[in-house]
Symmetry: C2
């Protein structure tokens, strides 16, 4: 890759050129035609579409055709439970929740506890299972419909998933995984196998219904390689190719790359206390100058500012307010301290309310869980 | 491999040098010390041990230690359900049944329907599932104890197996599978993954019991590579290395290689009719001469005769009778026609009785089956 960035399902580094990613991955830009379909069916234009946060897709035109024909569609998304949930994870889930509300559709939510165990030498199966259930609380806390949302751990639903995954695996060579994921001969055979398990939920709704139904996967674009593989083999095993809706990745508070659970001080977790949030945002990378005096004269640069990015991606839905902030930053009128304080209040308010719902989620968790042996003691 | 034969779990061709295989695979010959342990614990010397049909092992000394200490052991064996059962499959199962009777131990019997689906372009999942249940009838017909014998299909028990298999898979690199199985970059990722599923039942009894128990795997030696991999990683994931008991492979009626389901005319299947058996043995390769006259003068060669091999491996347990037959063959006194007739009668009698028990097995099949969701509708 001659680029200054790396984007794979397991590594995101550098300054990502999202337009270039569309070319590299061979996806399609969410253009005015797709946008107008969203407006037609939802009666509005969601902030994440308006701002190009969800910016790339595959086959969304077919999804809308199936909406219009009455065939319907379902959603699938997932989480690799290697740690606690942070805001970077929540971002696409917020949009997924919105889609569920607007289209009234079912969502299949995969927790890849097998993946995180096999890819990470430091994680045990107990660790990834524990995080999967912790992460599930965050999903439920966002308000997904318990009747239409099915959360499952790969290790708890493998009877169902394995039968689909082996159909996928039969069609995918090691060569393909080398090319798509950058594996080599020292990669463990569980990691090589895993993309079959990540493909399976795209076909699961069709298997459960006994008829093919189209599936769209809202996810950060770093996950696209898995689904490129899934799409390549889908029709050969009798299913529709999954459609995709790709979002950009919430940057870290250090200013570049995606927010990463492995760098806890530059990510805001849903279990963080207000004082942690205040401290992390206080230390965030901004576009400000070295001294207040200098900034009042030269102004700041919101384009490289992680605080601005957080407001842009999630916490300031009002375009006019955001624009005003940008202008005042550039002019030197608005200093970093004020922006950090503003964001801190927004984030603390959000996280505090989230944590209340997160605790309530424990009571209804079981309504959401899909397991091979429902009703049997595990 | 500079040898004149190839032995892998998926390919057996050429004239197998079994002593050389012991060196190549790094196993141990069943020597007088192991033999005397069998005699000590069973009070006899089974034909298949006496004749060196079961001839190689790994860690049988440790199995006998655990018998003597009271720790006990279990057995695991399996079948790749790519077709109907033939005599080559039954041979090690007969010995496995004998061990169950003598030691009163539990047996876990894996049907690798996933393997045969993923390795064979021409087999569907419905095919391999159907054959698994057909093969299960043959296992049960041999008289295994329904209380102590647990048969499972990988696709029906994958919830349990997958959790063990991912622990195995995390420890095995693609390099290892290349070296052990001869895979290459064009191998599908299901095939690469599969050895993890074949390893899992070796550790399953320990998982089910919640304490480690040693496991011995009686199998034809072509399966050893899987368990070499399993043994390498066993202790690293907290289990005992599985012990092995290796047998030679029943030759085909064409005179060399192992009996193969893909060459139906040179194998005798448990569902064959007497007329088929008669015809197949009638066409078998022998060590006889071109004409009866010539054979009466020069004698035959039992060493290369498939009819003799069948008597040696399974159908003539009486050593004196077998020796007498050999002598009379070499002298020209005994002609191929008589031997073929003798073997045909033995095989037809065996298969007819087996087929009766095979039908009865349908009634008790469910007693043997282990599935993820016992009692739930599949």
């Amino acid at each position: 890759m001659p680029e200054n960035f790396v984007v794979t399902p397991w590594e995101v580094t550098g300054d990502i050129d999202y337009e270039r990613l569309i070319e590299m991955f061979g996806t399609q830009k969410i253009d005015s035609k797709i946008i107008s379909k969203f407006v037609e069916h939802t009666g509005e234009l969601h902030t994440m579409l308006r701002r190009g946060i969800f910016y790339s897709h595959r086959d969304m035109d077919k999804i809308f055709q199936d909406v219009e024909s009455g065939a319907g569609f379902v959603m699938y998304t997932g989480r690799g439970p290697s740690g606690h949930t942070h805001l970077g994870h929540l971002m696409p889930w917020l949009f997924t929740k919105y889609l569920q509300d607007k289209f009234g559709i079912e969502l299949y939510f995969q927790m890849t506890d097998d993946e995180k165990f096999m890819f990470n030498q430091n994680l045990t199966m107990e660790d990834t299972r524990k995080y999967a259930y912790e992460n599930a609380l965050d999903i439920i806390a966002l308000g997904f419909d318990p009747e239409k949302t099915h959360i499952f751990l790969d290790t708890e639903y493998s009877n169902q998933l394995y039968k689909i995954a082996i159909k996928v695996a039969k069609k995918v060579t090691f060569n393909t995984t080398k090319a798509v994921f950058g594996f080599n001969n020292s990669t463990n055979i569980g990691s090589i196998w895993f993309t079959s398990m990540q493909a399976a939920p795209a076909f699961l709704p069709s298997v459960l219904r006994g008829r093919n139904i189209r599936c769209v996967i809202p996810c950060a674009i770093d996950q696209d390689p898995h689904f490129r593989v899934a799409r390549d083999i889908a029709e050969g095993i009798g299913f529709y190719k999954p459609a995709l809706l790709h979002c950009k990745m919430l940057p870290s508070l250090a200013g570049s790359d995606k927010m990463s659970a492995s760098l806890p001080n530059t990510s805001i977790f849903t279990i963080d206390k207000p004082k942690d949030i205040k401290k992390k945002i206080g230390n965030a990378f901004t576009g400000g100058c070295v001294s207040v005096e200098e900034q009042k004269v030269k102004g700041g640069n919101p384009d490289i500012c992680s605080v601005y990015q957080y407001l842009y991606y999630i916490f300031e839905e009002n375009d006019a307010k955001l624009e005003d902030r940008k202008t005042k930053c550039r002019s030197g009128e608005l200093l970093c301290g004020y922006c950090k304080q503003y964001l801190t209040e927004k984030v603390v308010t959000f996280i505090e309310a989230h944590q209340v719902r997160r605790e309530q989620a424990r009571e209804i968790l079981e309504k959401f869980m899909l397991r091979d042996c429902q009703g049997e003691e595990k």
